[in-house]
Amino acid sequence: MIKYIYLAVLFPLIGFLINGFFGRKIKSELTIGIIGSSTVGIAFLISLLAFVQTIQFPVEQRTNTVELFTWLSANGLNIKFAYLVDQLSLTMSLIVTGVGFLIHVYSIGYMHGDKGFWRFFAYLNLFIFAMMNLILGDNFVVLFLGWEGVGLCSYLLIGFWYDRKFEKGTTADAAKKAFIVNRIGDFGFLLGLFLIYQTFDSLNFQDVFSKAQTFLINENTFNLIALFLFIGATGKSAQIPLYIWLPDAMAGPTPVSALIHAATMVTAGVYMVSRASILFASAPTVMMIIAVVGLLTAFLAATIGLVQNDIKKVLAYSTISQLGYMFLASGVGAFSSSIFHVMTHAFFKALLFLGAGSVIHAMHEEQNIQNYGGLKNYMPKTYFTFLIAALAIAGFPGFSGFFSKDEILWYAYVNGGFIFWFGGAVTAMLTAFYIFRLFALTFLGNERFDHHKYHPHESPSVMTIPLIILAILSILGGYVGIPEIFSDQEGNLFKNWLEPVYKSAEEKLLTSSFHSHFEEVLLMLISVLLALCAIYIAIYVYTKNIFVIDKLKKRFVKVYNLLFNKYYVDEIYDSIIVRPIKIVSEKILWKFTDSIIIDGMVNGVAEIVNIFSEKIRRIQNGLVQFYALIMGVGIVLILFWIIVNL
């Protein structure tokens, strides 16, 4: 089945083509939905079969390349359109197609009655196609193709309801913001690719990585390459300083937020860092930067999430925060832990978003959690699955998020140091708090909504069944990565499975400081206790004792405003980057360069021609004899000239 892995990419494309070109004519929503979902479902089955086949191979044979055709060939640059099927790409493609399939099914219910139903499924399929290219690509160029493709789909889907208002502008503004901010990251990514090609004379993964191991290359070059690639990752994966687009991306429909802006696309940066682990491992300075940026992002985004009132905004900041964890893991060299967290995060965050979508659906597009309350009686399935997801993200023992988060914290402690562990643990506590604040305000407590206006109801089963499946995955997904101390074996299933991909990077990093199991258990206990306290406090305060919060708000009004306004980062960017660019564009580039210089040149040339022709056209006076005379004079002159020259 490995040979046919390209079908897993092709089917979503077919779905896109059918729905994109003929969707408008297909009247039945169900047909469109089935086409859209089944193509992704087939892609999942193909990935699964390829996975089953690969797992039966001995470890050395698990990396396979599927060449399709030569894409570009020019003077030494030879880019093949090929797919790399190995442990990492299979893991990612299972996550993308699996979670993607569930979200497609969910969307059939969520998007019911939307006038752009066919367009929605066409875009979603196009997204899966691009994402699969990103994951499976065998060289940086195919990866970049997917990288840009998912950016495009993200743009299209954020602006899906292009005629709706969103905050101060329209959803189109949010879409543009996402696209432009991503462009900055992509620029860095491109520079990284150029530098890789210049240094290694190839863009193929295996070439580049093997050369990176063996060639003697200046560490500065590695640092630059890794830094540029990481800039690309900060754009796509919403890290400081380019995270600002992700909260605005919530303008899109909720399934989009779940699929693209939580589970899959935003993890592309993590995947890329993980794929190019050897390049990053060779650049220790950049590794440090990544770890710090990841930790800062995780912490700051979590603090913002504490006070937001829009249900999707809270989840958006939560996503940024969790992505920060993944980069923290990559930064301290625990690449497999970051992918493990990508996987568990895909399960529980998709579930959180879909649950939120179910709530929004039931509350007629109301998104302010202050206007919810007590919904558990109206929508028990959503309530129960949301609870599971919340426990998972909070790191409640036994749920998937616990295993992955704990692994990251452990490696942050071992490879990074106490401060990284501490930051991560505090962030974990904040995470538990904000998610249970959201949970309590939404599902528990008094019903604060207007009963005449809102009639909450449970969503149809086409929406709840994906929720239940994701809930099961959110619980069980973590058991492939049980910590060593509980499983009595070296490493764990997930880590051993991915091990070969990171072998060269780990050899380079060589962190072999010894730590006892006692430490691991102690740290685990502390972080779990912090999370449990946070959960208890959040539920207690937001259901029984809301006035405590009001008191705190009044007491720390400055801090509250700072958090509520997201550290004013948007405003700062606006005044130091956006506005100067606008002023320069308008005053200098438009009014001066364009209007005066360029228009002046173009119009001036025409004006000169005009002046001359105005004079010269008088010669053409319509008198035939005049023409004849000139012709005669001309002939005489030519004859004269010929005779003289004889």
Binding site: Q620, N621, G622, L623, V624, Q625, G632
Partner: protein, 102 residues
């Protein structure tokens, strides 16, 4: 019997040509201009016959017949154009026929 020297023919031909050219340049009546053009054509014919006879190659004289045929056709077309112009403008004075300009 003495032969007329070739220069005589050529001078006559040149004279006719110059008359034709001057006529084309200075006369105002389209019919006259047209006749002057014919004059130039015939002067060229004369030069052609002269040289042909002088060299002793009859091809030039045969060629003149072709030229005359074409000239006849051209005269018919030219006169037709002049008549068409006259019907439009009630004049054949070419100073007044100056509509082909800016």
């Amino acid at each position: 019997m003495s032969v007329i020297p070739i220069e005589y023919y050529l001078i006559l031909s040149a004279f006719m040509f110059v008359v034709g050219v001057i006529g084309v340049f200075i006369r105002r009546n389209a019919i006259v201009v047209f006749m002057c053009i014919e004059l130039m054509l015939n002067s060229a014919n004369l030069a052609l016959v002269t040289f042909s006879s002088y060299i002793g190659n009859p091809v030039g004289q045969v060629f003149v017949f072709f030229v005359m045929t074409v000239a006849a056709a051209e005269a018919a077309v030219g006169l037709a154009i002049i008549i068409a112009i006259f019907r439009n403008k009630q004049t054949v004075n070419i100073d007044e026929i100056n509509i082909f300009k800016w």
